[in-house]
Symmetry: C2
């Protein structure tokens, strides 16, 4: 019937507008039931359940064997990690798989059969699920005793496929790969030629005293390659040169040449290439988002214009205001935008909207939300007005900063004076007293500001919220301290009792005070610019961070699988246990390897094997170096795999990811800087800037033809014309 | 008289055109005598003498006390360095000072008294000379026994003031300083806030087992600051975290936060800022060079047009062709350009040249020198033509590359097989035989190519020159080997005799073969692009490298002065001598400190004090660790100064210079890349590209008004109109 038809059109328009708001693709089924399913699938609850499932399945690694999530990482003190019984984590996994199965079937259904075959991500999703389920069945049939669990390495895929931003970023990275591969090839050529040179230069001689360089670093091809690869990371920088240098200074030329060519030129060339490839990345991605938005709006217009309420007289298709109002009421969107659109719709005198007018209405979505602070209260009394003027003045804020600085300095002085004192000699009277004074001042400042600005206006500034929250916490802590330990008096000793001793309380208060000092940031122009750039960067970097998590996870799991139980017992059992623990601790442990790996973002990784293990061992056990040497020996046995693993890790995390990060930072910062110079005059208006807005003046609006062509290619929507 | 006047004008024109060619400023005296002096001053001989003087005075540090330029740097084996008698280096210095005095007086005279007062560089030059001379007199009156020699630190100034490029670059760096200072300030704030946090977090506790973190890294304010500063360079990356991490894993959050904020964000922000500031640097510098060239040509035109040979009828001033020819014959310039200009001057039918025509003539200077290879010889015989086709074909070159690769691989195989053999077990027969075969092939290849291309055409390709030269050297080496040791036969033992044993000969040949393999570079497209970018970069980087030399020199000399004799004798005399030597060796020695410092471009520096010294000592002496601990202790005594010195060094060389380098590389590479995409089709023509040419299509031509305004501001030239 006509009513059902018009209901369908209305629903289609609602979904298309929601697609436009969320920058989603409109290529999905558009019949009534599918639309209901679509809205249900993209409802907050469903998406939240999906995210939760992904988080849960990723977090499982922290409690699964061989993880050891304990407070301390010191094998001497730590309790054995909780080992979940067989079947617990597996049943959680099964639940997650079920959710994913529902997810993949809904997604596949919604895009339709024909599109499904073109969508490689969905196929890979199904494949991953099948492999995971098979592995799960194998696992259960071995009663969780099997050693290789393929499905763990596949887990990060679930995170990857759920985010369109991450998929897009991955595509971008993929397109940079050929150039990166060229530079990596160049690096490899550089490395191998210099390795041959080195082997010819530092050959074995008759005199054993003279060929230290050969013995330590260039004994054979793998050793030479490793030495120079490590030199490329600069981790063994002066060491590798010193035996040769002490024989003849001229040998240093070789090492300097290698370092300058490899490290200064080729490595930075990689940065240049990646930056060059990524220069248009942000702009392109924002441009495609804009296209999706315009397309969604246009699709909504087209389906609404098919509603036959309108006179079919005009060649131009139109949409009636009433239908649009009906749609708008059901669309889920930001209430501010909705109201603005409604308002301009009512102000518009006409009854019919053309395509251009329709688009124009929804441009409200792209606009900056200019933040307006509520007005200050107006006081009658002259005295109150004076007070309001005084405490609303920026100088009062500056005074607050000065006081905070004074507080920091006083804490610093006390810290320096108390640095070498025994805990029993300490007297917290002085610090307690001055902190008490300062916190009272902070409270006063907050109250006076609220008086001057009114509570609403006060809270509308983020810096005030930060300030006020910390002041309240400090006040509560201080009151709690006084309630338990009394007021500060000479000999107010920091006693060690329970969870929160006076000593801990005072330290916590001090830390919060140091943290509160960050309120000065918005007052310094350059700092504010830098901080906003960094915040922007964090927003844009979410996709990158996601990919990094994926890579971390895969590396950590691979590391566990590779190095688990690889240590051969060499000493007696007691030390064997130690070594086992140490090895587990440093490599085959999820928590540890995540943290370690994240700290090895820098060039330390490759040197680890020789130097760091020893220092780590001696720091950890203090039981002498001999066990550590045993340990290093055992690591050497698995050295080949470890080498490949660490080189891969170094290339991906340290070289490529850091360079990608630098490229994005350059891109972001330079855009921001250029804009800053243009908008200097407007800087007093607070914008809630998004990436889209940053590029607004360089974006191209899609043309009508492009939009209509795309609409006609829609696999499920049959437009009348 | 009129003749004298016209001679003067001709001479002025000559000098102005030479200024234009060399991109020099034209603001100098223009009377006859001054012009003669000017041409003499900028003659090749004079400039060469000046450069030599600068080199000599800088090189003096290598032989002056306390330098120790010996072959080995190992204190156990090395002979005492040659100590020049008092007065030798001093008299060389005096000679240099005299040359500089002449230089500064000529320069001052030529720019004129009024300009002199505006020129800060010249004033600083004179001041430096006066201070140096005073210091020299003091030095002689103490019979070279004085400890502080200020004039040594001032020496790099002579290098700096002599290069206009370096002065310009320094100005650019100077304008970047405010932004850099902001980021460095931000880093300092970051560091100090985290230091306070760390001191509160890792405070001393009652349990001595528990506060390892406090004992080792956060004992007091300077220690904490150092620990975190070193963490910023990532040199102590996992170490500093491990005691706390083994107590409670949550502590790692602190370190990760610090590293990510400081190292990933703030450090890379510095790169972004420096790149942002330097984005226009190359373009601006090339633009100003272009302006100088146009100005010089225009000035030549103006003075030639004052020659009253021309009829004064036209309002437009003109230059007669005859006068220009007269000038051109005397101008020193590239003969190719001169001929091209002469040719177009003769082709021009007119007798008088307007300003525009005059400028157009000299545009030949800006043009690419399109390199034309001489033609191949034409053979009559059909057989010879066939041969010429076969060996002139690119495939013959590829075959040569394949053979070179095979040679490399065979050397590599022999190296791997011989890696662990004692020298006495080695047999060089196999390698000798195959190398002999390969070198014969290389000779044949060279001869056939010469046959096919003719000698002239063969030599016109740089890759052929490289190839041919190496082949000839290899041949000579091989013949010498055979002459001394006979032809290869089984049991052809590498004997150790004298300067060039068979063993050394074979190694040298192998190294040259590896080096010859670089001929493949032009055949790989991406590699060729990268290599040309790097070569361009080296050209543009000369100014930066000069400034780096200045900084290195100043740091090395300061280091010597700070750390000379700072070691307090702790053990008995024998070990004291060792320590003294070690200390001298690692710090208070010019050669050593230059090399060391250049290798410490990376973040190793700050960690040096604690780790590197120990490893260096143990590698060097193998006499046990105890002396090294003594040594470290003595270094700790001078630790404050060393810390400041090394932090300054790290900031300047590692942070700022490397970032400048990256910025320039980005700038160069991105321009090159953009151009490559445009000129893809033209790539078969060989251009001798300069920076000027790279930017040719974006440069703006200066307008007539700008040029004339600048000409009228000339302090010495009075134009008629």
């Amino acid at each position: 019937g006509v009513g059902a038809d018009s209901d369908l059109y209305i629903n289609q328009a609602i979904v298309f507008i929601e697609d436009a708001i969320q920058y989603r693709s409109i290529n999905h089924r558009v019949d009534s039931k599918s639309l209901w399913l679509y809205r249900w699938y993209y409802s907050r609850t469903c998406q939240w359940i999906l995210s939760l499932t992904i988080t849960v399945i990723l977090a499982l690694a922290f409690i699964e064997e061989p993880s050891s999530l304990t407070v301390t990482s010191d094998v001497r003190y730590r309790l054995p990690a909780w080992n979940p019984p067989c079947g617990l984590t597996e049943s959680i996994e099964l639940l997650c798989f079920l959710v994913f199965a529902v997810d993949v079937s809904v997604k596949s259904y919604l895009i339709g059969w024909k599109e499904f075959w073109k969508n490689k991500w969905l196929m890979a999703y199904i494949l991953t699920l099948i492999v995971s389920l098979t592995d799960w069945i194998v696992s259960l049939s071995f009663f969780c005793k099997e050693s290789v669990r393929v499905r763990r390495i596949l887990r990060p895929f679930f995170l990857l496929q759920n985010s369109s931003m991450m998929k897009k970023t991955l595509k971008s990275i993929n397109s940079t790969l050929p150039e990166m591969a060229s530079v990596v090839l160049l690096l490899a050529v550089h490395l191998s030629l210099f390795t041959m040179f080195a082997m010819l230069l530092f050959a074995r001689t008759k005199d054993n005293q003279q060929d230290k360089e050969w013995v330590v670093y260039f004994r054979n091809l793998p050793d030479s390659l490793t030495s120079l690869l490590v030199l490329l990371t600069t981790a063994n920088n002066p060491d590798v040169m010193i035996p040769a240098y002490s024989k003849n200074r001229a040998y240093s030329i070789f090492f300097i040449l290698f370092t300058v060519l490899g490290n200064l030129f080729l490595m930075n060339l990689l940065t240049a290439i990646i930056y060059n490839q990524f220069r248009g990345y942000l702009l392109k991605s924002v441009q495609s988002s804009l296209f999706r938005r315009r397309l969604g709006i246009r699709a909504a217009f087209e389906v609404l214009s098919s509603l036959k309420e309108t006179p079919a007289s005009a060649q131009q298709s139109c949409v009636s205001v009433g239908a649009l109002l009906q749609v708008l009421q059901k669309v889920e969107m930001d209430s501010r935008c909705k109201q603005a659109i409604m308002r301009s719709l009512k102000m518009c005198s006409c009854d019919q909207l053309s395509a251009a007018q329709f688009q124009k209405l929804f441009e409200e979505l792209d606009k900056d939300a200019i933040k307006q602070h509520p007005p200050s209260p107006e006081y009658q009394s002259y005295f109150m007005q004076k007070l309001q003027f005084a405490f609303g003045h920026p100088y009062f804020g500056y005074l607050g900063n000065v006081v905070a600085l004074a507080n920091i300095i006083s804490i610093c002085v006390v810290l320096v004076m108390d640095a070498d004192k025994q805990p029993s000699e300490r007297d917290d009277f002085f610090l307690g007293a001055i902190n008490c004074f300062f916190i009272l001042y902070y409270l006063l400042e907050m109250l006076l500001k609220i008086l001057a600005m009114g509570l609403k206006r006060y809270l509308s500034y983020p810096s005030n919220r930060f300030d006020g929250l910390l002041t309240v916490i400090l006040l509560i802590l201080e009151i709690a301290t006084f309630a338990v330990y009394g007021f500060p008096h000479p000999g107010w000793r920091p006693e060690f009792m329970g969870l929160l001793s006076l000593w801990d309380m005072v330290r916590l208060v001090n830390m919060l005070i140091v943290f509160r000092f960050l309120r000065i940031i918005p007052n310094m122009k350059f700092m504010a610019l830098v901080v906003t750039t960094l915040l922007d960067l964090v927003k844009n970097l979410r996709a990158f961070a996601g990919i990094l998590v994926v890579v971390f996870y895969a590396f950590a799991i691979t590391g566990i699988m590779l190095f688990k139980g690889a240590v051969v017992p060499l000493g007696n059992t007691r030390y064997f246990n130690f070594l086992q623990g140490a090895q587990k601790n440093s490599k085959a442990e999820f928590t540890g390897s995540c943290v370690h790996i994240s700290l090895w973002l820098t060039q330390e990784i490759l040197y680890f094997k020789e130097k760091k293990v020893i220092s780590w061992c001696s720091a950890h056990f203090q039981a002498g170096v001999i066990y550590c040497l045993l340990y290093v020996l055992s690591v050497h046995l698995i050295c080949r795999w470890a080498k490949i693993y660490f080189v891969a890790w170094w290339l991906i995390s340290s070289v490529i990811w850091v360079n990608l990060f630098v490229a994005l930072l350059l891109e972001n910062f330079i855009h921001k800087w250029d804009r800053r110079c243009q908008r200097e005059s407007l800087s007093d208006i607070e914008y809630q800037r998004t990436v889209e807005l940053m590029f607004r003046d360089v974006l191209e609006e899609p043309t009508e033809e492009e939009l209509m062509e795309k609409l006609h290619q829609h696999p499920h929507l049959q437009l009348c014309r």
